[in-house]
């Protein structure tokens, strides 16, 4: 996985660009990594990967997104940004080299792993690019917000 900072920044950028609910999009972009609880479990000698693996698949992540959306005024409206966030997560992750075989995009129908081996999870340049991209989008956003408020005066 790219780190959560990268995932959340890409979610934030996507939310700003498509003018969707940024908060829910960022939450969605982190949802599939619920699976990473297994890393903490491993420290205590508990092997929970087998239980948590479905959360890092589109099927599991969208189900969790659906469950979460039920806690909002309009589940449908909440589910859309959550789903977009989840999608950005998998788009980023598919470019990673994963020694355990890649993303199981078609789970539970297939266990085949998908990956394009472009980046290693340890690489920090993708985080740096995400930070610069987020800063750039934020500047553009501020510029247009100021422009709009001036025009309305």
């Amino acid at each position: 996985m790219p780190d959560w900072l990268t995932h959340s920044l890409i979610g934030w950028i996507t939310g700003k660009i498509i003018k969707s609910d940024v908060a829910l999009l960022v939450i969605g972009s982190l949802l599939p990594d619920i699976e990473k609880i297994s890393v903490v479990d491993n420290w205590f000698g508990i092997h929970s990967e087998q239980f948590l693996a479905p959360f890092h698949t589109p099927a599991g992540a969208f189900l969790i997104g659906g469950l979460l959306a039920l806690f909002f005024e309009s589940p449908k409206k909440a589910f859309i940004p959550l789903s977009i966030g989840i999608t950005t997560h998998f788009i980023l992750d598919v470019f990673l080299f994963n020694s355990s075989g890649g993303l199981r995009l078609l789970f539970p129908f297939s266990w085949e792993g998908w990956q394009y081996d472009v980046i290693s999870s340890g690489d920090d340049w993708i985080t740096i690019i995400a930070i610069y991209a987020a800063a750039f989008v934020y500047i553009i956003y501020l510029y247009y917000t100021n422009l709009t408020s001036k025009n309305n005066m």
Partner: protein
């Protein structure tokens, strides 16, 4: 309306539960760690495998690295392509290549991480937690009465 939500929630939980049980039962048959690969060598001989581990030795002359394994033969020799950078002893490597013999792999791709780089991913992840919480609570508040999140007036 509330009942409909509850019904949908139960349905989603049921499907999720089925996925979790299915994953628990089948996981080991589809996740081949190096230990499993070596224990079932005949199945994986001359096939593409991917695995990771810490480098224990480096042979610069022959462009080889050695990784410890949890089962016999206790170490594995990995031939690194000449055009790729050799890792150093102690580095964490992710390898994709062909298993030629029980203790020899010809790598096609290698990703090298120093030990601190591997841990840095967790450190880099930490700022995302307050960032996500800040964005969320800036926009949404929880109504205990309705048991759901409501958009804040100023959001």
């Amino acid at each position: 309306m509330k009942q409909k939500r509850l019904l949908v929630a139960l349905l989603l939980l049921l499907i999720l539960g089925i996925l979790i049980v299915y994953s628990r039962l089948e996981y080991d048959n589809h996740n081949y760690g190096l230990k499993y690969i070596l224990q079932h060598f005949d199945t994986f001989n001359n096939t593409k495998i991917s695995f990771d581990g810490f480098v224990t030795e480096v042979n610069v002359t022959n462009h080889l690295i050695y990784l410890e394994t949890a089962v016999q033969p206790w170490f594995i020799e990995v031939k690194i392509p000449g055009n790729q950078k050799l890792p150093q002893k102690g580095d964490f490597v992710e390898i994709y290549g062909t298993l030629n013999t029980r203790d020899y792999v010809t790598a096609e791709k290698i990703f090298i991480n120093t030990p601190w780089q591997k841990d840095m991913i967790y450190l880099r992840s930490l700022p995302a937690i307050p960032f996500a919480f800040f964005l969320f609570y800036k926009t949404w508040k929880f109504s205990r009465k309705k048991i759901r999140f409501e958009r804040r007036n100023n959001a």
